[in-house]
C-alpha cells in the first residue's frame, strides 16, 4: 500500500475531481471509465484512483442528493457509473494473492455497496483473496459462505444505524463460525463506537485503515462470541413488534395534530407512513444499542434533508409527538424522543 508521491499531484487537482463528478452525474460511463483508465496508464496507483477520486466523488454525490441538488435518479445513475469505474480499475490491475482470504459484504438491508466494493478492491490490491458478496447479504447466506470458504476475516459494512440489530446478528454468527469480524461504515457510529458493543473484533474508518488493520496483527484472539452482553431490551422489543400499530395510530391522529395533512392523497399518505416508520426504525436502533445519539443524529439529519425540500421542522416534530404519546410507559424511548424534540426546537 505504498504510493509514490510523484503522481499524487494529479489527483489533488480539484478540476479533475469536478470533471469526474460531472461525468458520473451525466451518466457518462464511457468518459468516466476512460478517465480512470487513462490515469492508470499515466501511472497513478489504482488505490489512489479508488480512494482519492472515486470515493470522494461518491461522497459528494450523496451530499448533492441530500441538498436536493440532484434527483434520486441522478444519484443512482452516478453510483452505477462510479461502480463501472471501479470495475474498470479492478479489471486492469492484477495482484497475486499472498495474504489470505477475506469475505466482504453489506449487512442485510444495507444497499450502499460502492464503498464496500472499493474496500474489496483495495484488499485485493493489497494481496488478499477477496470474496465480494455485494449489497444486502442475508445473514444465513453469509454464514453459509463462511463455512464453504473458511476465510481469515469477514468485513461487514453498515451505513445506516437501523441495520445495526441485523449487523449484530451477522457479527455474532460470523464469530460463532470462528471467523473474526472487521466492521466498517458510518452505521457503527462516530469512530465505530458501536462496533465493539456489537461484538466486532475490529473497526476501520476507511478502506486504507481496514487494509492496514488486516495486514497487521490479524487474527485477533477469539473469545466466546456469546460472551458479549445481550443488546436490546423490552422497550426495543415493544417498538419493533408494535411497529404496524404505532404507525397506524400515529397516522390516524396525524390529521388532528397537523391539519395540513388532511388533504393528502394516497401517495402522500404513504410517504408520511414511511417517514413515521423511519422514525420508529431509528428509535428502535437507538434503543437496541442503548445510544440516544443514534436517534438525535437521525432527526437532525432528517430535519436538514426536509428543509432542503421545503418541508418545515413542524412536520417532523408532530411525528415525534405522535410516537411519544404512544410510548409514555417506556422511559428510554420517551427520553430519546424528548431529546430529539428539544434539539430540533433549539435548531
Amino acid at each position: 500500500m505504498t504510493v509514490p508521491a510523484t503522481t499524487a499531484a494529479s489527483l489533488d487537482d480539484p478540476a479533475l475531481r469536478e470533471r469526474f463528478l460531472g461525468m458520473v452525474g451525466d451518466g457518462d460511463e464511457y468518459a468516466a471509465v476512460e478517465l480512470t483508465t487513462s490515469l492508470l496508464d499515466a501511472g497513478v496507483p489504482a488505490q489512489q484512483i479508488l480512494l482519492d477520486l472515486i470515493a470522494p466523488t461518491q461522497a459528494r454525490v450523496g451530499e448533492l442528493w441530500a441538498a436536493n441538488e440532484w434527483s434520486v435518479a441522478r444519484e443512482h445513475a452516478a453510483t452505477a457509473i462510479s461502480e463501472r469505474a471501479v470495475a474498470a480499475v479492478a479489471g486492469r490491475t492484477m495482484v497475486r494473492p499472498h495474504r489470505g482470504r477475506v469475505t466482504v459484504a453489506c449487512v442485510d438491508g444495507e444497499w450502499h455497496a460502492l464503498p464496500v466494493r472499493i474496500l474489496a478492491e483495495i484488499l485485493r490490491l493489497d494481496g488478499w483473496r477477496v470474496d465480494f458478496l455485494g449489497a444486502s447479504v442475508p445473514g444465513p447466506h453469509l454464514v453459509t459462505h463462511l463455512h464453504q470458504t473458511g476465510p481469515d476475516a469477514v468485513a461487514v459494512s453498515c451505513m445506516l444505524p437501523t441495520r445495526l440489530p441485523r449487523a449484530h446478528a451477522a457479527i455474532t454468527a460470523c464469530r460463532s463460525a470462528g471467523v473474526p469480524v472487521i466492521a466498517g461504515g458510518r452505521g457503527f457510529g462516530p469512530d465505530g463506537r458501536y462496533a465493539q458493543r456489537l461484538g466486532a473484533d475490529a473497526w476501520a474508518g476507511g478502506a486504507r485503515e481496514a487494509a492496514g488493520r488486516l495486514a497487521g496483527d490479524w487474527p485477533p484472539p477469539m473469545d466466546d462470541p456469546y460472551r458479549t452482553p445481550f443488546l436490546g431490551d423490552e422497550e426495543y422489543t415493544y417498538v419493533v413488534r408494535q411497529r404496524p400499530v404505532l404507525i397506524d395510530t400515529a397516522l390516524r391522529r396525524l390529521a388532528g395534530a397537523y391539519p395540513a395533512t388532511g388533504g393528502y392523497d394516497q401517495r402522500q399518505q404513504e410517504a408520511t407512513a414511511e417517514d413515521i416508520a423511519h422514525i420508529l426504525d431509528f428509535l428502535a436502533a437507538a434503543l437496541y444499542v442503548g445510544e440516544e445519539t443514534i436517534f438525535t443524529e437521525f432527526t437532525g439529519w432528517t430535519a436538514g434533508v426536509l428543509a432542503a425540500r421545503g418541508v418545515p421542522a413542524a412536520a417532523l416534530l408532530a411525528g415525534l409527538r405522535l410516537i411519544r404519546d404512544q410510548l409514555r410507559d417506556y422511559p428510554a424511548a420517551t427520553r430519546m424522543l424528548d431529546a430529539a424534540t428539544a434539539s430540533l426546537r433549539d435548531a
Binding site: R19, G22, M23, G25, D26, G27, D28, E29, Y30, A31, V33, E34, L35, S71, V72, A73, R74, H76, A77, T79, A80, I81, E83, R84, V86, A87, A88, A90, G91, G109, W111, A135, S136, P138, P140, H141, V143, T144, L146, H147, Q148, T149, G150, S176, A177, G178, V179, M222, V240, R243, P244, I247, D248, L251, R267, E270, A273, E274, I276, A277
Partner: protein, 576 residues
C-alpha cells in the same frame, strides 16, 4: 531438658503465677513444653534481640532439622525464614527440600516472638491438582467451542494445531490420510504461524507411530515412541531436538480423519499419563470436527456442481441493447429457487437476442431443478429458430406430457433486436406471467399488452404476443410476482402491489438499467422490512441513451471525453 530453662524463656513459659498447689492455676513449664512438642504446628521461639532462636519444638526440628537454639533466624538454614526475618516480614511461603512451608510471625511479649511454621505441601498439591483439572476442563470447553464453530476443513485444521500448540505441546501437527499418494499437513510451533504443506505417502513411516495412527491401529503409548527417531523434516529446523513425541489418531467416520503429532522440546521433556489422556480426548473432538467438515465439503462440492447451471447467467451485453438482471432467492442458504431468467445471444439462424424470465410453482431445489429443465428447453428451441410464441406452446406440451403432474410455469419470452436511431424492438409473449412494464422517456409507465395461459396446466394454451419499441433511454422490465406480492410496508402485511412497482419504476427515469434494477430491488427490500421474502427475479432491457445528458437539468458543458467515449468497443468491457 526440663532441668535447664533459659533465663529469657523461663519467665515466659512459667507464666505469671507458678505455684505448687494441688490444682495449679497455671501448668508447669515442663508440661507446657511437652504440650508444645506434641502439636503438629512447628514453633520456633525467638528473642527480639538479634533474632536469636531460643527454643524449638519437636515438629519444627523435624520440619527444619538444621535449626538450633542460639542461631539467629536471619542466618538460619531455612532460606525463606532467614529472608523474611532479615526483611522484618510477618509471613512467608516457600519450598524447602521438596515441602511447601508457610510461616507466620507472632509477637508474644515485648522481647519475644515466635515463628509458626506449617507444612502445607498437601494443600498446595491439592490446589495445583484442582487448578490443573480446571485448566483441562476450560481447555476442553474452549476446544469444543472453537472446533464446533466451523464446517470448513481448513479452519478446523488450523484451529486444531493452534489449540494443541498452545495447550498440549511445543509443536503440533495434523497429518491427513493420503489422497493420491500425498498427505496434506498443518502444523504450528508455539508462538509461530500456522504452516501448511503436503508430504509423500511413502515418508509417513519415517515418523514413529504415524503410519499406525493413520492406518486405524490403536495408538502407541508415548513412552514407546523414540523421539530421536523423528525425521528432521517433521518440524522446522530451529525447533531443536524433540524431547518427547506423542502421536494419536483423530477418530473419524469409521476411519481416522487424520493423526495428531505433538512434540515437546528439551532433553527431559515427556508426556505424562494425564497429558496423554488429555491429548486423546482433544483428538476425539478434533477428529469429530474434521469429519463433519469433510462431510460438509463433499455436500458443498456436489451442490456447487448442481447449482452452477441453476444460478442466473452472466448477462451478455449485445451491442446497442442494455441488459440488467437481478435474482434474489428466498431466505435460504442455497441461493436457488423457482424464479429464473436467461438470455441467449444471436445464433446462426437469428440475429435477435432472446430473453426469458419465469417462475415455476414451488420453492427451493425442487423448483430450481425444473427451472433448469425449462431453461435448457428454451436454449434448444432457440437453436432451431423457434419464435417466442411457439416456444411457449412447445414448452407447454413438454410439461403437460411429462410424467410429473402439477408442475406449472409462468413466463415471459421476448426477442430483441436493434432498430434505427438507437431504438430497440421487442416481441414479447407471456404464459400466465405478469405482463412486463415499459418506462417511457417522459416518465410514464405502460403495461405491455400481452397475455397468455399458464404453462403446464392444460393441453392447449392461448398466447397473445405484443410488439414494443423502446426509444433511447426507455426501459422494459420483466419481473416475477415475488416482487409485487412481497408483504411489508407500514402495516407489515400489505403486498407491494403493481401500483407501487409502477411508481418505483417511474422514479428510475434516466437511470442506466443496472441502477434501475438495483433501485427497484432496494425499494422492495425496504418495503419488506423484516418480513419473509419470496424469490424475486428482475430483468431490464433498455435502449441506451443517445447522449449522456438525459439526467442533466440544463445546458451545462459536455465532458471532453464524451465524443471519445462513443467508440464501438465500449461494450466489450468485461463485467466485473
Amino acid at each position: 531438658m526440663s532441668s535447664y530453662t533459659p533465663p529469657d524463656s523461663g519467665a515466659l513459659l512459667a507464666g505469671a503465677a507458678a505455684t505448687t498447689a494441688p490444682v495449679p492455676a497455671d501448668p508447669a513449664p515442663a508440661l507446657l513444653r511437652t504440650a508444645l512438642d506434641a502439636t503438629a504446628e512447628s514453633v520456633v521461639l525467638c528473642a527480639d534481640d538479634g533474632h536469636t532462636i531460643v527454643w524449638i519444638n519437636t515438629a519444627a526440628a523435624v520440619l527444619a532439622p538444621g535449626l538450633r537454639p542460639g542461631q539467629s533466624t536471619t542466618t538460619a538454614p531455612l532460606g525463606a525464614l532467614a529472608r523474611a526475618a532479615a526483611a522484618g516480614e510477618e509471613a512467608f511461603q516457600d519450598r524447602h527440600e521438596g515441602r511447601h512451608l508457610r510461616g507466620r510471625r507472632r509477637q508474644l511479649d515485648e522481647r519475644h516472638y515466635a515463628w509458626y511454621l506449617h507444612d502445607c505441601t498437601d494443600e498446595v498439591e491439592r490446589a495445583a491438582a484442582l487448578e490443573a483439572e480446571r485448566a483441562r476442563t476450560s481447555f476442553l470447553a474452549e476446544a469444543g467451542r472453537r472446533l464446533s464453530a466451523s464446517l470448513h476443513q481448513g479452519r478446523c485444521l488450523r484451529t486444531t494445531v493452534e489449540l494443541a500448540a498452545a495447550h498440549l505441546a511445543d509443536a503440533a501437527m495434523v497429518v491427513l490420510p493420503a489422497d493420491r499418494r500425498h498427505c496434506t499437513w498443518t502444523r504450528r510451533v508455539r508462538g509461530g504461524p500456522v504452516e501448511e504443506g503436503s508430504l509423500r505417502e511413502t515418508v509417513v513411516s519415517e515418523v514413529p507411530g504415524l503410519a499406525e495412527a493413520l492406518g486405524g491401529f490403536p495408538p502407541i503409548p508415548t513412552r514407546w515412541l523414540d523421539a530421536a527417531q523423528a525425521p528432521p523434516w517433521l518440524l522446522p529446523e530451529d525447533f531443536g531436538p524433540i524431547g518427547a513425541l506423542l502421536v494419536t489418531p483423530l477418530p473419524g467416520n469409521a476411519e481416522p480423519a487424520g493423526a495428531l503429532i505433538l512434540a515437546r522440546r528439551g532433553a527431559d521433556a515427556r508426556f505424562t499419563t494425564e497429558d496423554e489422556s488429555l491429548a486423546r480426548i482433544f483428538a476425539a473432538r478434533a477428529g469429530a470436527a474434521l469429519s463433519a467438515a469433510a462431510l460438509y465439503r463433499d455436500q458443498v462440492d456436489t451442490t456447487a456442481i448442481l447449482q452452477a447451471d441453476l444460478l442466473p447467467p452472466e448477462l451478455p451485453q449485445p451491442d446497442g441493447i442494455e441488459l440488467a438482471g437481478s435474482y434474489q432467492a428466498a431466505r435460504e442458504a442455497l441461493r436457488i429457487g423457482g424464479d429464473f431468467y436467461d438470455v441467449f445471444g444471436p445464433t446462426e439462424r437469428s440475429s435477435d437476442t432472446l430473453v426469458a424470465l419465469g417462475d415455476v410453482c414451488g420453492k427451493g431445489p425442487d423448483a430450481a431443478v425444473l427451472t433448469g429443465k425449462v431453461r435448457q428447453t428454451l436454449r434448444a428451441l432457440r437453436l432451431v429458430g423457434t419464435p417466442p410464441v411457439d416456444m411457449l406452446h412447445v414448452l407447454n406440451q413438454a410439461l403437460t406430457e411429462s410424467a410429473r403432474q402439477h408442475r406449472f410455469v409462468t413466463m415471459v419470452v421476448g426477442s430483441l433486436s436493434r432498430a434505427d436511431h438507437g431504438r430497440v424492438r421487442l416481441t414479447l409473449a407471456t404464459g400466465g406471467h405478469p405482463p412486463p412494464l415499459v418506462l417511457r422517456a417522459d416518465g410514464t409507465v405502460e403495461e405491455v399488452p400481452t397475455s397468455g395461459t399458464l404453462i403446464g396446466a392444460v393441453a392447449r394454451i392461448a398466447v397473445r404476443p405484443a410488439d414494443v419499441e423502446l426509444g433511447p433511454g426507455e426501459l422494459c422490465l420483466l419481473y416475477s410476482d415475488g416482487l409485487t406480492e412481497a408483504r411489508g410496508g407500514p402495516a407489515g402485511s400489505e403486498q407491494y402491489g403493481e401500483q407501487r412497482l409502477r411508481e418505483a419504476l417511474a422514479s428510475c427515469r434516466g437511470m442506466p438499467g443496472v441502477a434501475a434494477v438495483e433501485r427497484v430491488r432496494q425499494l422492495v427490500s425496504d418495503w419488506v422490512h423484516n418480513g419473509s421474502r419470496d424469490d424475486i427475479a428482475l430483468l431490464a432491457i433498455r435502449a441506451p441513451d443517445r447522449t449522456p445528458l438525459s439526467l442533466r437539468g440544463g445546458g451545462a458543458p459536455s465532458s471532453p471525453f464524451a465524443i471519445d467515449a462513443r467508440r464501438p468497443e465500449r461494450r466489450s468491457r468485461t463485467r466485473s
